[in-house]
Symmetry: C2
Subunit: 193 residues, 2 copies
Amino acid sequence: MSYSVITITREFGSGGRTIAKKLADELGYAYYDYELVRKIAQESGFAEGFIEEFGEEASSSNFFSFFGNNWGALSINDQLYFAERKVILELAEKGNCIIVGRCADYILKDRKDTLNVFIYADIEFKKDRIINLYGETDVAIEKRIIEKDKRRKSYYKYYTDRKWNRAANYHISLESSELGIDKCVEIIKSIAQ
Amino acid sequence: MSYSVITITREFGSGGRTIAKKLADELGYAYYDYELVRKIAQESGFAEGFIEEFGEEASSSNFFSFFGNNWGALSINDQLYFAERKVILELAEKGNCIIVGRCADYILKDRKDTLNVFIYADIEFKKDRIINLYGETDVAIEKRIIEKDKRRKSYYKYYTDRKWNRAANYHISLESSELGIDKCVEIIKSIAQ
């Protein structure tokens, strides 16, 4: 079958975003990244920088409402999640697109035309990519990778009640450090077409 | 790169064994299944039927030694595991082969020429396959699938200290019910060559 929507869930530094961009180019699909952030900002009223920082990562303080522990009010995270969810459902409806992160695999789980992909890599590969691509030289880079993925994992768990790195959440999982970025693109493309 | 050994870890009923056989045919690799059992029987002295039943599934009674709770003696499961491990290491050394189950991904984790694959499927697909292929008509088939995978999972956890269904244990994980058996074969083949 062919898939009109591809979701890519990825570990930080694994090259998932690069794979998504290459795939979008090769398939002629839309790749929603900053446009997604812009639309979520319009929908939610939150600033784009805030969405980029907290749109797919758990932050304990945001899990509480502005109004303290008021059970009637949505937390900031929940408000953001529901805005993201609405935008992702709308974009999927338009079709022929690739969406990275933000629990899109879960949000679109009832769409039969959606292929869900998980990209992960070993720690050395991720460190090298982050240092080379983002120009970071922080000696604590490994700690940062682990913490970033921990926050993504908690966010995913909170909104989906699933474990982020469980193969069965996705249709295919690929270790980019073993297979290479281009091979990952080739495999996903051969399934999507 | 090319891989001379492919390990396939699979959920019961997912078609992992069929994929392994087809792959072996197409790549001209040896597929070790009954030959593996025969070699383990020679190595361990256990009966072939016993190895088939307990060679990759936890069974609480076998986790204890013949001699009661004697900490000096290996349990039956441990004896079997170490025999399996030895045979798997020897077969991998011969190269160009496919090994199904039995923690082979973990046992061969230090071999760079080994591609580790995980195959899983949704429950309806697994039920259909088991009923059609094995001719089973047991109404409790779903319960049997869940229990069989539970025992494989416990076995894997015990000997590898890893979670069976975690994507990162493998280089690639494929949902056979979504992608189809032939597509899984095609993808693995394209990586292995």
